[in-house]
Structures are given as structure tokens and as C-alpha cells.
Subunit: 321 residues, 2 copies
């Protein structure tokens, strides 16, 4: 009988659940479309039904020890999802309690960026690293800050909102209602906004001139840059410069020895890594210089979130540090 | 027999040592001028000699359990003072080892800002507060970040250098060699620089026009502001605005439930508190708004550092959280 945890990666359009063993092997994984769960409770019941069916159908010889959930706006302390703009469930949802009641085993929850950091620490490129910061650069920017082997949650469970550090006075309008947040520059959306800004400045010729903002994707900018498109390359440089400066400030806070980039923007590899590293080093206080590598996540994009949810559960069970 | 720790507050021009009990009562305290200790070892021997003499002379019925030191550029992990520009001792000084050998009891060391935070947590206004940030606004700006009841040190012992977070692109030249550090604005020196800037702008009449930069003190700006000097008031407002914005970003990192201001600039009270609070609230991400009070230190300025050193020792001995 294999000991596993039930890991859940909850998103706005769909959710994954999986059985994952201590070594991070995914024994079984299934996707659920969000239209199939209008309420949190119906979601919990559906996961229960589908996992029982899978165990029977696949003749899985497993024992589920605990449940781990990574969710947008997840609050670790309370096990709740709170006012998540991308979910259909409104208000404060005590989803960890629902799962606990339905399955009769411990359930742990954190937000998706923290889950990714925990997963990276257990199964990715931050194994045996006690102090690191993981930046999730996707549609928005999330972060998980690990200090002395623990994700920090702060007073109310909302520590580590580094996407909403203001990096520019009177900067770009952010979805949070303020201006100049890191997220408005160092996300895929931020990269697109930078492309538009550069097209407006009109200092570079570019094949991206014929593409509308809505059509534009991170991949297009990436592909253009790889083909030598000056404007696309400049867009990554500009993004990396802002990200690198922000990282230099973050290092003065927690003095990590590693920074990990993850998410859509990170997939651009050296295009974003090189200017980020350069700006970070140039802006670091002397005592930190040359000591903090920036690397890409070691988790496969598709499995990172679910592995993070599993790692959370194993960690909380005290099985692993 | 009273259980005490030997607490040492080490500075560039002088040092204090004191016997302090668990409740923070200073049983005995003495000052040593730095000219009396050219080398670290002679300092250690002098402290030993003077404390033995004091015990005899005052007939102190004490047992010294441990030694705690707060020092500029102190490294908690290594018990060393490293390249402290304001001390006469060069290079890396393993001073905790020296004390340990001389006294035969455990010796713990941290930098002065961290010591102040630990003291605030044990004896000041942060008692029973698990997550807070203490900003030391003196000649420079230091900080101690407490997360889940522990000062964070990071990978190499240098976490919490919030005075050197860059808050302004191409801002004021900092002693660290870079530009725009918080310290160049939110310290007493920064306040003086702001007064000079405002005199240059010449938008306000001011009684400070006749004072040179070298003559100018924080207290003069303070007194002028209290008498209604518009320029002095504006200098505090400008300083508080920059400090408040920086604090809003720090909160997104560790989500503390308290911020404590300490040091010369903090002595201005409401003059600095009010504009700082205003700017911080205006720049906070919604989830943190209205939740993080900013207050002044509860430790008397003269005893804060030495109480911090004592608190460090008691804490490390496991006697108190």
C-alpha cells in the first residue's frame, strides 16, 4: 500500500486533483472543469466521488494521509479562500474544513504562489536551500518567501505579496487599484504593456507592429526576440531591469541565497534572466553582491502547482522538513 | 543570588556594559571610552576586569548566566563584527568567542538594530507581538524584522538591511556607494539634507536659513517645526512620505501587525509619525489597510541598546521566548 496525499490545484477555469507519494511521484491525476462545480461544497463532493471512482477503476493500492490545496487567495492560517476574483465562489470559503469533513483526514491550504515555493523546496531546484524567494511571473506576479526552511505567512497569512510592491512612483495602473506595482511590469501582461509602450515610443523597428494588444501573447514576444526583433529584446531588457532592481530590494529584506523564477514570463529563459541578473547585481548592497543566483524553477509548469499542494501536505504532516 | 546576563552595547566612541536581570532591571551599568580599548581583546579583558571590580565594590550578589552583545555590523551566526566602519578594529573580529573564552559562559551577538528589536519584544512596546518591524532612524537607518517571534537573519546573518532599500531612482548618494537608499531620506542626516533641499527650493520662509549643514541638528529642525516653522514642518512631511511609502512595501513582504520607530528621528513624535502613517496607509495594498499601527519605541533611548543585548542573551538561553 502506497502512502499518498490528495493534492488539489484550484484555478479559475479548472482544477486538478492528484494522488502523490512522498517522493513527488504522481500516481494519478485528473482535471475538473469549473463549470462542474458552482459551489465549494459541490466541488468537494465531486473530488470525493471522482477520487473514489479512480481508486476503484485503477485498482490503486493507496492510503491517503492528508489533503493539500493550492488556491488563489488561499489563507494558510484559516484554511479559507477569501474573495478570490477569479473563482465563482464569493466571500470567504472555509474549504479546508469542507475537505476535512468530507474525507476525515487533515487538510492544509495555502495560496498558489506559496504552494509553488514549497513544491520547489521539496521537489525542485531549492532542495536543501533554507532561504529563498520564488517569484511566480504569470498573468500577475505572486511570490513565496522561504526563511529558515519555512514559507512566511506573517500576521494574517498574507505575507509575500511581492507582486504588489510599488516599484515606480505614479507608475502603471494596477488591478489592485494602485499604481506602479511590480506586477504591472514583471508579468506576462506587463511585458505586453511594455511592448505597447515601446511601439508608442517608436525607437525600434518591430514585427510586432501589426499585432493588437489583445492578440499579443508572451510567446509572440519571445519568438520575436529569438529572431532578433530589437523591440522585443528591449521589452525583455526593460522588464528585467525593473524586476532586477526590485529583487535587489527584496534581498535586503530577507537575505536569501537563491531566487527562483517561475511562470509564463520565466519561460523566456535567458531573455529575461540576463537583464534581471544584471540589474539586480548593479543595485545590490555590497554585502550581498555575487552571492544570490537567480535560476528557473525545476518543476514542470503543468505539475508545479499540484506538486506544491502535495509538498504542503507532506510538510504539514511532519514527514518532511 | 540574582540571575543576570552581562549585556554589552558596543559603539564607535564608547561602550556600555551592564548586569541585567530577566525582568530587564539594570542592576549595574558602566561606560567605557573607546580610547581605552585599541584591540578587541583588550576590550574583552577590560570588561572582565571592570565587571569583577564592580561586583566586589558594590557587593553584588549575582550569577552571570550569559553574555549578550549588540554591535554595529555584528553577525549573529558567526558571533563576529565584520568590517565595522565606525569601530577601530579592522576586518573580522570573533568577539563572541573572545568573551566566551574570557568568561567561560555562552556569548551571543547581533547587530544593534536587531538587538533593539529583540529588546522591544521582551521589554518594550512589542511584547506578545509575533510579527513586527522595528526601524531605527538615527544617523543612519537600521531595522530588525521579527517574524513569528524570531528576528530573521537570512542566509548569512545580514537580513533586514531596510535602510538600504532603494526608494528613489537616481536619488541621493548614500554612504554605501549607491543612490536613493531609504537611509538618505529617513534618518536624522536625511532630514538635514531635506532641510537643505527645501532651503534651496526657497518655497518656504524659515528660521533655519542662517544655520549651516554642519551646525544643523535634528533637534533644531524639531524645535523649529514645533514653533510653526513651515519649512521644518515640510521637511518632516517629506521625510514621512518617503518613509511611509517604504513601509507600505515592507508590509507586503512580511505582513507584520506592528511597526515601531526608534532613534533620533523618531523622537520628533507626531511630526514624523503623522505624515508617515498617512503615506503608508495611502500606499498599502487593500488587504493590509488599517491593520498595521506605527508606534514609537517603548524603550528609553539611553537604555534601549543595552536592554536589547540583555534580551538577546536571555532569549538565546531559552529562558524567554
Amino acid at each position: 500500500m502506497t502512502q499518498v496525499v490528495l493534492a488539489i490545484d484550484l484555478g479559475g477555469t479548472s482544477a486538478d486533483f492528484a494522488f502523490i507519494n512522498l517522493e513527488g511521484k504522481i500516481i494519478f491525476k485528473e482535471n475538473i472543469k469549473s463549470k462542474d462545480y458552482d459551489t465549494a461544497n459541490s466541488f468537494v463532493q465531486l473530488v470525493k466521488k471522482l477520487s473514489n471512482e479512480a481508486i476503484k477503476r485503477k485498482k490503486l493500492d493507496i492510503k491517503i494521509r492528508a489533503i493539500g490545496i493550492g488556491a488563489p487567495n488561499g489563507n494558510y492560517y484559516r484554511g479559507t479562500i477569501e474573495f478570490a476574483p477569479n473563482l465563482r465562489w464569493n466571500g470567504i470559503i472555509p474549504i479546508a474544513d469542507y475537505f476535512n469533513m468530507a474525507f476525515g483526514i487533515p487538510c492544509f491550504l495555502t495560496n498558489d504562489a506559496n504552494a509553488a515555493a514549497i513544491g520547489e523546496g521539496m521537489y525542485g531546484n531549492a532542495q536543501n536551500v533554507k532561504d529563498f524567494i520564488m517569484m511566480t511571473l504569470g498573468t500577475g506576479v505572486g511570490s513565496g518567501i522561504v526563511i529558515n526552511d519555512k514559507v512566511i505567512y506573517g500576521n494574517d497569512g498574507f505575507a509575500g505579496e511581492l507582486g504588489h510592491v510599488i516599484v515606480k512612483n505614479k507608475g502603471r495602473k494596477c488591478g489592485c487599484g494602485r499604481e506602479g506595482c511590480l506586477e504591472t511590469y514583471a508579468s506576462v501582461t506587463g511585458l505586453k504593456r511594455t511592448v505597447i509602450k515601446l511601439l508608442m515610443d517608436n525607437k525600434f523597428e518591430s514585427g510586432l507592429k501589426g499585432v493588437s494588444f489583445n492578440e499579443l501573447t508572451g510567446k509572440m514576444v519571445n519568438d520575436a526576440a529569438l529572431k532578433g526583433d530589437k523591440l522585443a529584446i528591449e521589452a525583455f531588457r526593460y522588464t528585467g531591469e525593473i524586476l532586477g532592481k526590485a529583487l535587489a530590494n527584496f534581498i535586503a529584506f530577507s537575505s536569501p541565497n537563491l531566487i527562483i523564477l517561475f511562470g509564463g514570463l520565466a519561460q523566456a529563459g535567458d531573455l529575461i534572466l540576463n537583464p534581471t541578473k544584471k540589474a539586480m547585481e548593479e543595485n545590490l548592497l555590497k554585502i550581498y553582491r555575487g552571492k544570490v543566483p537567480i535560476i528557473l524553477s525545476g518543476l514542470k509548469g503543468n505539475d508545479a502547482a499540484i506538486l506544491g499542494a502535495a509538498a504542503l501536505a507532506w510538510k504539514e504532516m511532519g514527514v518532511r522538513n
